[in-house]
């Protein structure tokens, strides 16, 4: 009788120690669900969802605070992917948050730019290159097309530029393929 009690309490103690150690050692940092949601979001960082960037929106979705259909750049595909991840019914994209636009980047008309640097401050991904009273330009490869720089420009010299399809990035339409 005493043996069993001893054996089991020792076992419980050692297992408890192992579990306690594992809980400290392998502690999951951050919320893994937030990372998964963040991976689906388009990282435009445009703030159209009313959150200051994609990650804050991901945190809001994970906590159940925000709906999954507030991301216009992600489009309906993005909403569907989020619904699949979270195992909920998919929703139509809420158009009060804006509409899905074709892929584009910002473009600075350099003849008009006065070098006020307001766009540099507005850019969520630091895609602008410039300095006070110097001509500013956009690093096209890093621009996400969030359009946050357009309203802040005092001389309206920022336009959107649609990215043209090129030969190297061409994918035909599946229907064309099916019809031969």
């Amino acid at each position: 009788m005493l043996d069993s009690v001893l054996i089991f309490s020792l076992l419980a103690l050692s297992l408890g120690l192992i579990l306690g150690y594992a809980a400290v050692k392998f502690k999951v940092k951050g919320n893994p669900l937030v990372d998964q949601i963040d991976a689906i979001l388009p990282q435009t960082q445009c703030g159209q969802c009313d959150y200051p960037g994609c990650r804050p929106y991901a945190i809001a979705i994970a906590s159940g605070e925000a709906a999954i259909n507030q991301c216009p750049p992600g489009g309906q595909e993005g909403v569907d992917a989020l619904a699949k991840l979270l195992n909920v019914e998919t929703l139509p994209l809420n158009d009060t948050y804006g509409e899905t636009k074709p892929e584009h980047v910002a473009f600075v008309d350099e003849t008009l730019c006065i070098g006020c640097t307001l766009c540099i401050q507005a850019c969520p991904v630091d895609a602008f290159l410039g300095a006070p009273k110097m001509m500013t330009t956009v690093i096209e490869d890093e621009c996400t097309g969030c359009d946050l720089c357009i309203p802040v420009c005092p001389v309206d010299c920022i336009h959107i530029k649609i990215i043209p399809s090129t030969l190297t990035a061409f994918a035909s339409n599946i229907d064309e393929v099916k019809n031969g």
């Binding site: 990282q43 890093e142 399809s165 090129t166 030969l167 990035a169 994918a171 035909s172 393929v177």
Partner: protein, 502 residues
């Protein structure tokens, strides 16, 4: 005969055979259109202006991209336009082109910069090959200098004279007419790569070419080898398998395994560039098909229109369907106004036929048997149809060489390869987008960190300044006295003022 073989592949009879293969020099075109986009890499930037006079062989566009070669004027004349035009590409999209109008003189740039290859270093030669605009002339247009630069411990050099696609005879013509140049080109390549063996692979239906090359075979390292006529034997990895029984892994290149594979036409182009100092401005093109009277090979300047040489073959007046490249792997083009580019090895002009109706897949498995790279096309087809990229990748989609053997045997006439090309493009775009998204995420996170750091640094700096000032005040006795004196003075003044005002 080669001892080894690869699975699958098909034997297709040349539908338009000719008795004697000859090369007809085409007249100088009156106008050439040279596309700026090459097979890979970014579009070249023009370095001439509209209205500028150019000489044959002059560089008219170049790029910093390491994958690309400069673009040379193929005739002398005046640049009349730099704009977007249709190029032979399955997308039907327009891309940048330079148009030159000929002055009929064909004045060359100074071509006396041919180099003695035996006294030149590997690096010089590779740079020279790049400057001369040489890309793989077999049909894929992979830049030759990239292959040479990535070469590791080369043990075997393979000269690809298989020309396995039925109907094409431009390499055959080249080997029959320029065996000496091909051999000299091989010597140059051998000097660059330092291989121990050279194998010239020729399909066994090209007896004349074989004999022509045999006449100039004076090097012990070089071996001429016949391989059985079978479609897709000319594909680099499969040719290596057939000749050396080395299988190149799926995510690796032949050059990384010490095997260099070059087309015979590329070899001759290298000879022209190194010995004669002439950049690549012309090539041999086969014109064939059911709608032309004579099937022939033409040497033609790059950038000339298809019509320029097709007219020499006397096409009939029916409606035509035009195809660039072989009957299997070629690209359909809209009309004969398309330009000849470096990868145009053949032009098929056929009488237009009603398209064959496709039917559903019956899972007969024929395609599995003929696939030369051992894929399961019918299984891939289902995934590709549903745009399921991940599953397609599981079935090694990226190994597909788009040879269309599966299309050829499909009893339901499904264009299987078109599905695979489509899914590959989807995958490439997805990868590109994912990279962009990752960069955006990283930059957003970094900006957040940067702003927080700036704020903290600013606060720290202000606090430090304040503390410093306080310290200074505390330390400086005279300052204190001065302030006390000033206060005293002000008090006194106000007192005096008060007194006087009363």
């Amino acid at each position: 005969m080669a001892r080894h073989k690869f699975n699958g592949g098909i034997f297709i009879k040349n539908p338009y055979p000719i008795d004697k293969i000859k090369i007809v020099p085409a007249p100088l075109p009156s106008k050439v259109v040279l596309p700026l986009q090459q097979r890979i890499g970014e579009e070249a930037k023009p370095c001439v202006r509209v209205g500028e006079r150019v000489f044959t062989g002059q560089i008219i566009a170049k790029t910093e991209d390491d994958f690309c070669v400069p673009i040379h004027a193929s005739i002398s004349g005046t640049v009349v336009a730099i704009d977007k035009q249709l190029t032979p590409h399955h997308s039907g999209l327009k891309s940048g082109c330079i148009t030159i109008e000929s002055d009929g003189k064909d004045e060359w740039i100074d071509t006396n910069f041919g180099i003695n290859f035996l006294r030149s270093s590997k690096k010089t030669l590779i740079e020279h090959i790049q400057k001369s605009g040489i890309v793989g002339l077999g049909g894929a247009g992979f830049p030759t200098h990239t292959k040479l630069n990535n070469l590791k411990n080369c043990h075997t050099l393979i000269i690809n004279g298989t020309e396995c696609e039925p109907g094409i005879s431009c390499d055959d013509a080249l080997m029959q007419n320029y065996p000496q140049e091909v051999m000299r080109g091989i010597e140059i390549l051998l000097h660059i790569c330092g291989a121990k063996h050279v194998i010239i692979a020729i399909e066994d239906d090209k007896q004349v070419a074989f004999e022509a090359l045999l006449k100039y075979l004076h090097n012990d390292k070089i071996k001429l080898q016949k391989i059985p006529t079978k479609y897709t034997s000319g594909a680099e990895k499969l040719l290596i398998k057939a000749l050396l029984n080395i299988e190149i892994p799926s995510n690796s290149f032949a050059v990384e395994q010490g095997v260099l594979c070059q087309n015979v036409a590329t070899t001759k182009a290298i000879f022209d560039a190194v010995e004669l100092g002439r950049p690549l401005v012309s090539r041999i093109v086969t014109v064939t098909g059911s709608a032309v009277e004579t099937v022939d090979n033409y040497t033609v300047r790059l950038g000339a229109s298809f019509a320029h040489i097709v007219n020499l073959s006397k096409p009939n007046t029916n409606l035509h369907s035009v195809r660039m490249g072989g009957m299997m792997m070629g690209v359909d083009v809209d009309n004969l106004e398309t330009m000849i580019c470096k990868i145009t090895n053949c032009i098929f002009v056929n009488n237009r036929q009603k398209p064959i109706k496709t039917q559903g897949c019956i899972r007969c498995g024929q395609c599995n048997l003929v696939c030369p790279v051992n894929l399961l096309p019918q299984q891939l087809y289902w995934y590709a149809k549903n745009e399921n990229i991940d599953k397609s990748l599981d079935y090694n989609l990226l190994d597909c060489i788009e040879c269309r053997c599966c299309d050829y045997v499909c009893p339901s006439h499904i264009s299987l390869a078109a599905y695979f090309v489509f899914t590959k493009a989807l995958h490439a775009n997805k990868v590109k987008e994912q990279n962009k998204v990752n960069i955006a995420r990283e930059r957003f996170e970094y900006r957040k960190y940067r702003l927080a750091r700036n704020k903290k640094e600013h606060a720290e700096m202000m606090a430090a300044k304040k503390a410093q000032l306080k310290q200074k005040m505390a330390d400086d006795k005279t300052q204190k006295d001065k302030i006390a004196a000033a206060i005293e003075r002000v008090k006194k003044n106000t007192k005096n003022n008060d007194d006087t005002s009363i």
